[in-house]
């Protein structure tokens, strides 16, 4: 069997929250927070992996660690068989050719003084690829994302949200990457355009065999485009598995809460909703036991004391919960 495109094992990303001197003065032996903890995932070529979580869940930190923008502390990240952990920033340059990243803000992630043409040919210049016809490449990439060629002379502030997002996709595609990490690909877009971007990603996956890692707080996005998914909370995967299976038999109360938080556009709909109390707890003081117990409507004594073991719910479908939902729930 060949290596998967991306294999992450037991990944941990930590951030220092006190300077060494401060930590010494406070007698704090562990002046760090774990933004990502015990995370493992496998992504095959031509597949899409969905990462769902609220803000502060660590999903963006995880993505940034994959391309070395945040240093990983321990664990393993293997991309096409090569280990990425322990590389220096400079050694990530070739990796960043093969893994492209799209950032959240459609227009804000485009350098404001460059034209669309300069923006989408930027990757060629960065990697010193000179034997290409930049004009032809621009036309090819714009066509790939369904934008007209006359847009090449425009500046980011002249683009609508949907157009800016498509320019972002075109730029990501420039060097034929194996993997595209899309951070909130539909954030800041009108609903009428969200579908367009998701359809575009689906088409690229099918036609070009590009893999996607999609980061979002919107379960609906994951449902339509991803093959596998994970639900993240305080840096851990609470539930993960094949997307269809997770939606059909979700076991973790948090997954259910996220899904039911999507407001129904029917004013007369009967609302069965798991409502969560309060906010996401601080990473500085992780709750004891099951870390979700502070907001879980079903929390019991055991949840406060004992960390749940990973449990199997089906083929490659796992969750962390003492009292999971019944298997045939929604």
């Amino acid at each position: 069997m060949t290596d998967p495109l991306l294999a992450v094992e037991d990944l941990r990303v930590r951030f220092r929250i006190k300077t060494p001197l401060r930590a010494l003065l406070d007698r704090d032996p562990d002046p760090f927070i774990d933004a990502v903890l015990n995370v493992g995932l496998t992504l095959e070529k031509g597949q899409a992996y969905g990462l769902v979580g609220e803000s502060g869940s660590g999903k963006t930190t995880l993505a940034r660690a994959l391309i070395g923008l945040n240093p990983a502390h321990s664990g393993s990240i293997r991309f096409e068989g090569q280990e990425l952990i322990g590389r220096k920033d400079r050694q990530f340059k070739t990796i960043r050719r093969n893994i492209a990243m799209m950032f959240q803000d459609p227009a804000g992630s485009l350098s404001p003084r460059l034209t669309v043409r300069s923006l989408i040919t930027e990757p060629f210049k960065i990697h010193g690829i000179e034997n290409v016809d930049l004009k032809a490449e621009t036309a090819r990439l714009l066509e790939m994302v369904n934008l007209g060629p006359d847009i090449a002379g425009w500046y980011p502030h002249q683009l609508s949200g949907g157009q800016a997002r498509r320019v972002g996709v075109a730029r990501a595609l420039a060097l034929n990457p194996r993997l595209i990490i899309a951070d909130e690909p539909t954030a800041g877009l009108d609903v009428s355009v969200q579908g367009e971007i998701l359809n575009l990603m689906g088409r690229l996956k099918r036609d070009l065999g590009v893999s996607f890692l999609i980061i979002t707080h919107n379960l609906a996005v994951v449902r339509h485009v991803s093959d596998r998914m994970a639900v993240m909370y305080l840096g851990r995967f609470l539930e993960q598995g094949p997307t269809d299976d997770v939606f059909a038999h979700m076991r973790h109360p948090y997954t259910h809460a996220l899904l039911s938080a999507h407001l129904n556009p029917d004013p007369d709909a009967e609302r069965v909703r798991v409502e969560l109390a309060g906010d996401v707890p601080s990473l500085i003081r992780r709750p004891t036991g099951c870390e979700f117990h502070t907001r879980c409507p079903f929390a019991r004594e055991r949840c406060r004391e004992e960390f749940p073991e990973a449990a199997e719910a089906g083929a490659e479908h796992t969750y962390l919960c003492h009292f999971p939902l019944a298997a045939d729930q929604p």
């Binding site: 070739t94 492209a100 950032f103 803000d105 350098s111 404001p112 460059l114 930027e122 990757p123 960065i126």
Partner: protein
């Protein structure tokens, strides 16, 4: 409104900005004065009716006449010609000093703003140390070591103003470096020089050039001041400051020398300040009235 200025390209917006500048009375006045000043400096040898160095001892301290539009000084040199040539010196000092300051400020400011924390702390310390010397004391010290000259003036100005520019650039760089488009460039593998040169600098240079244009008159005044004190350009060279100095001793009986040296100084200061302020209003979208 997103659907606003769709097809306006780079040139259209330059033309539009120029129209706004001319429509603003302050901007127009500034533009005229600055053009006058720069024109005088460039064409000084053709404009000066006489040799500014030629002595005419018979005609010392002569009042304005047809021969000598602004009279003559204590050595009989034609004041008008000296003022015209003085524009050259003023502009030369101002442009050289400001360009060097900008360059130094950019290098140090970008390094402090984008570099590691320790470098930032170190450079801030350097900036603060340099800033804490009073300009005149510093000038006296430098002159004592290397002697008075045009280059000394430029050196003093650059060293004392680089910290100001460095700080502005550092702050701007820090404000931009965590923007998503910089993160996106890093994620594509862009190196530090490409990020600084192609993505950060173009976004901070605009407001900086306006600050620089408003600093030109300051530099002209410093040069005049230092020359007035004898710390600047060497005597025969016609700087506005040395003209003032020459006229100062005879101000009771022959005030035209001081007036001749002072008025262009005032007009230049006003011109660059007006132009700078008007440009700032046009390019600062928050102050811009009609786009």
């Amino acid at each position: 409104m997103s659907s606003g200025n769709r097809q306006t390209g780079k040139w259209a917006s330059v033309v539009y900005s120029l129209r706004l500048l001319v429509r603003d009375p302050m901007g127009l006045a500034g533009l005229i004065l600055v053009t006058l000043m720069v024109g005088t400096a460039v064409f000084a040898p053709y404009l000066a009716p006489r040799d500014p160095f030629a002595l005419d001892v018979m005609n010392r301290l002569a009042p304005p006449s047809q021969d000598h539009l602004m009279g003559t000084d204590q050595m009989g040199r034609d004041t008008f010609s000296r003022v015209v040539m003085g524009a050259r010196i003023a502009l030369k000092v101002a442009l050289t000093a400001i360009s060097l300051t900008l360059l130094g400020g950019l290098v140090l400011g970008l390094a402090a703003g984008y570099g590691p924390k320790w470098l930032d702390n170190f450079l801030l310390l350097v900036f603060d140390t340099l800033r804490s010397f009073p300009t005149i004391m510093f000038a006296l010290a430098v002159v004592a070591v290397v002697g008075p000259s045009l280059n000394t003036v430029i050196l003093v100005i650059v060293v004392t103003t680089v910290p100001v520019y460095g700080r502005i650039i550092r702050t701007q760089t820090q404000a931009i470096r965590y923007n998503e488009f910089i993160q996106a460039e890093r994620a594509m593998g862009a190196g530090i020089f490409r990020i600084l040169g192609v993505h950060i600098m173009p976004n901070i240079i605009g407001p900086l050039l306006i600050v620089a244009s408003m600093d030109i008159p300051v530099v002209v005044t410093i040069e005049a001041g230092l020359s007035f004190l004898g710390l600047g350009v060497r005597p025969p060279t016609p700087s506005w400051g040395s003209i003032l100095n020459d006229g100062y001793s005879f101000i009771r009986n022959t005030p035209w020398i001081v007036i001749a040296g002072g008025v262009p100084l005032i007009l230049t200061t006003l011109g660059f300040t007006f132009l700078g302020e008007s440009l700032r209003d046009i390019f600062d979208p928050k102050l811009r009235k009609d786009i």
